[in-house]
Each structure stands twice: as structure tokens, then as C-alpha cells.
């Protein structure tokens, strides 16, 4: 006897399937990491050595930018496998709920992005000569996770709405870059404030609240509207 999987089961099945594809085609995982490393190296060459008090700011700036660009690569390919397999043409007939599909993609990019971000942060610490304890600082980790949530939220939604666009590789960054700026701005200001003062003061609270607000807006929009985009035309 067969039965339709619940939304949660569907989400987990699609997530597992997406991760399997990534592991099978390793370049999908390696490309964003490699790209992030190149950006960090370029920063090291382009910007002369800074005094120690500036280095933490530099680390935040270059890490966030490297994560941002690496995520752009990961996000623009979010639905690539499904598009090649013509999944969207069958989605209407399948028992898979399109919200579960979007949620699975969101979690998938978040998992890949977490790996990329951790690597980027680590490499940036080495290149900027910072203390390794920053990797275990819960505020720094929380800030990176919130940044990742915002970028993933907006990125998956944009990947979904540009799915059927001609020249998707061009249109996606044109929309992703401006819409991610509020997230990047709040994240960088909050992290710099924290690294400068190590105090949870009003300024820090203000930036963190705004970062959480943008994450909430973007994630809600993705979950509410993303499924609309992947629905097949009648």
C-alpha cells in the first residue's frame, strides 16, 4: 500500500536528494569554496597590510564579501538539477507540495552555505592574523548564521522567480546584489561593533534587531511566495 508523504517527509527527501547530487558532482560543492578563497586572496593582494586595530574590521568585510559572492554561485544553481531533469513540468502531477520543495532548497543552500562560511571565516582569520577564538565566539557565529539566513532567504526566492528567465545567470545577480545589501550592511555593522567593543550595547542591539528583521522578511516572503514561482504553468 502506498501513501503520500507528509510535507516534512517530502522536505527531507528532497533535501537528501539535493545533497546526494552535490556529493556525486563534487564541483558543485567545491566551486563556491574555491571562489571564496580566490576573493580572500585577492583582498590580501589588493589591500596593503593594516594596523592591528583595523584588521578585525578587514576580516569582517572580506569574509562577508567572500561569503556573499560564493553564495551567489551556490544560489544561482539552486534549481539547476531540477531544471535539467524537467522536474517542474512534473511537479504539478507529483504529490510533492511546492512549499516543501522550496523549504528543502532553502535548507540545502543553508547547509552548503554554512560549510562555505565556516571555511571562509577560518581562512580569513589566518590571512588577517586574527585570534582563532573568534571561530568559537557565539556572537560572531550567530552573526554569520543570521547573514547566511538572510542571503539564503532572498537568494532562493530570486532563484525561483528567475527560473524561467532567459539569461538567468545575468538576471539573478542583478536582482540578488541590490536586495542583499541591507543584510550585508546590518551584519557588517553589527560584527564590527562587536569586535571593536565586545559589548552588547544599544548600537549593537539595533543592528542585530535589523538583521533579524530583514531575515524574517526575506524568509517569510520565500516561504509564502517561493512556491508560487515553481508551480508549473497550466
Amino acid at each position: 500500500m502506498s501513501h503520500d508523504p507528509s510535507s516534512l517527509q517530502s522536505t527531507l527527501i528532497i533535501l537528501r536528494h539535493s545533497l546526494r547530487i552535490d556529493i556525486a558532482a563534487k564541483e558543485r560543492l567545491i566551486t563556491p569554496v574555491f571562489f571564496a578563497a580566490i576573493i580572500l586572496l585577492l583582498f590580501s593582494f589588493a589591500i596593503p597590510e593594516q594596523p592591528p586595530e583595523i584588521r578585525s574590521r578587514m576580516m569582517v568585510a572580506e569574509s562577508l564579501l567572500a561569503i556573499f559572492f560564493a553564495m551567489q554561485i551556490a544560489l544561482s544553481r539552486t534549481f539547476e538539477a531540477e531544471r535539467q531533469d524537467k522536474v517542474f513540468e512534473h511537479l504539478r502531477l507529483s504529490p510533492v507540495d511546492s512549499t516543501a520543495f522550496i523549504l528543502a532548497k532553502l535548507l540545502h543552500v543553508l547547509l552548503v552555505g554554512s560549510g562555505v562560511s565556516f571555511f571562509t571565516l577560518l581562512l580569513s582569520l589566518i590571512l588577517q592574523g586574527q585570534d582563532f577564538s573568534l571561530v568559537t565566539d557565539p556572537v560572531v557565529l550567530g552573526g554569520c548564521l543570521l547573514t547566511l539566513l538572510g542571503l539564503t532567504g532572498i537568494g532562493v526566492l530570486l532563484a525561483a522567480i528567475t527560473l524561467r528567465a532567459d539569461g538567468q545567470q545575468i538576471i539573478f545577480p542583478l536582482l540578488y546584489f541590490p536586495l542583499s545589501i541591507p543584510v550585508l550592511l546590518c551584519a557588517s555593522e553589527a560584527l564590527i561593533q562587536w569586535l571593536d567593543t565586545h559589548k552588547w550595547d544599544d548600537t549593537m542591539r539595533g543592528w542585530a534587531t535589523m538583521l533579524i528583521a530583514f531575515d524574517a522578511i526575506y524568509l517569510t516572503m520565500t516561504l509564502l511566495l517561493g512556491s508560487e514561482s515553481v508551480d508549473t504553468d497550466p
Binding site: L157, I161, T162, L163, R164, A165, D166, G167, Q168, I171, L174, L175, F177, P178, L179, I181, P182, G206, M210, I217, M221, L225, E228, S229, D231, D233, P234
Partner: protein
């Protein structure tokens, strides 16, 4: 000669010219900034018109999302095009005002940056519209982006409060009343009202043009024209 929307557009444009003449010759000069401040009678109304376009875009997007199979994007497209024009006008007039006041044409101030983002997103909407073939997919995708653009408007409006910026804080709608002189405020508010009506008329006329263009293209394909 003119139908009603075009007549209202002409009437509001005449009202706008009268308002500008009053801005030049009637309201007093500002103590601190001198005559350069008079550009606010174009800059602030243009910004409100850009916001109005985003509001129209949001409403049109919600309506289109509710019935993507039947709706067309003519109203959304008209609102986006008009919104882009007014956003560019806002940026240009702000820049012209910024040079003598701040000493620079452009600075990465929060309000300037978020307004620039609004212009980029309006441009992005038009690119997306052109990149997707006609059909429900295009209606859905463009409508979702339209809603995202509308989300940017409150951020722009509140940016001077949330971020420490070079741009002056809110002077019209603020707790404790406006900081502006009564005559200046009255003229500015009437300017905003006129520009919003101009904006809505432009959207309406442009929508008619888009519909006309579509029907001509359809007839041309069928070999009628």
C-alpha cells in the same frame, strides 16, 4: 481632443508649474541654505511619487498573484516605468542639492543608497519582465519581485532614523510637529499632492498605451493591421 486621464494629467502639470513658480518667487529664502533649498519642492514630491508607484506596483502585484492565469502585467509595468523615472529624478535632484550643501555629488549615505537600490530594483523588474516569455510564469515572477520592491519603500523612509546618516532626518511627518515654516510646509505638501496625482495619471496613461500597443501587436500578428 483629450480623454479624461490625459486632461487630468495636463491639469495637474499646469498645477505643478504654478507650484514651482510659487516655490521660486513666493516662499521665503532659507536662513541656513539660501536659495538652494528650493530644490526640495521638486525633490521631495518626486520621492513621494516614486513611493506611490511602488504602492501601485504592490497592489497590482497582489491582484496579479491572485489570478495569474487571467491577469496581465500592464498596470505593474506602467507603475514600474513611472516609478523608475521618479526615482531617478529624486536621485538627480538630491545630488544637485548635495553638491553645494554637503560638498559632494554623491555619498554612500543610507537614504541615498536605499533610494539607489529602489532604482536598481525597478530596473531589475523591467529586465525580468523582458526575460520571461509571456504567460502565468511571468505574471507570478514579476509580481513577487514587485512585492519585494514595495518592501524597500518603508526601509528607505525609515533609513534616516535607523542609520546615522548625512541626510537630514524626517522634517514633515515627525513627532512634535514639522520643523518647517508654515508657508514652506504648505507649499511642499501641496507639491507632494500634485506630484502624486501626476504620478497616478502617468501610470494610468502609460497603462492605456501598453494595452494599445499589445492590441496592435496582436492585430498585426493576425494580419489585421
Amino acid at each position: 481632443m483629450f480623454d479624461k486621464p490625459r486632461l487630468s494629467l495636463v491639469a495637474t502639470i499646469i498645477a505643478m508649474i504654478v507650484q514651482w513658480l510659487l516655490a521660486w518667487f513666493w516662499v521665503p529664502v532659507d536662513d541656513a541654505q539660501g536659495d538652494v533649498y528650493r530644490i526640495i519642492y521638486l525633490h521631495v514630491p518626486a520621492a513621494f511619487a516614486a513611493f506611490t508607484s511602488a504602492f501601485v506596483l504592490a497592489v497590482a502585484s497582489i491582484l496579479a498573484l491572485r489570478s495569474p492565469n487571467s491577469s496581465k502585467l500592464d498596470l505593474s509595468k506602467a507603475a514600474t516605468e513611472v516609478g523608475l523615472v521618479f526615482t531617478i529624478l529624486t536621485l538627480a535632484t538630491g545630488s544637485i542639492w548635495g553638491k553645494p550643501t554637503w560638498g559632494t555629488w554623491w555619498t554612500w549615505d543610507a537614504r541615498l543608497t536605499t533610494t539607489f537600490l529602489l532604482a536598481l530594483m525597478y530596473g531589475g523588474w523591467l529586465l525580468l519582465h523582458n526575460a520571461i516569455p509571456e504567460g502565468p510564469s511571468r505574471v507570478r515572477s514579476c509580481s513577487i519581485l514587485g512585492l519585494m520592491i514595495a518592501v524597500d519603500v518603508p526601509i528607505i523612509y525609515k533609513s534616516v532614523t535607523w542609520w546615522r546618516t548625512l541626510h537630514q532626518p524626517q522634517t514633515i511627518l515627525r513627532s512634535g510637529g514639522s520643523t518647517m515654516d508654515g508657508d514652506m510646509l504648505a507649499l511642499l505638501l501641496s507639491g507632494i499632492a500634485i506630484m502624486v496625482i501626476v504620478c497616478l495619471s502617468m501610470i494610468f496613461v502609460r497603462r492605456q498605451n501598453i494595452r494599445l500597443q499589445e492590441s496592435l501587436e496582436e492585430k498585426s500578428l493576425r494580419g489585421v493591421v
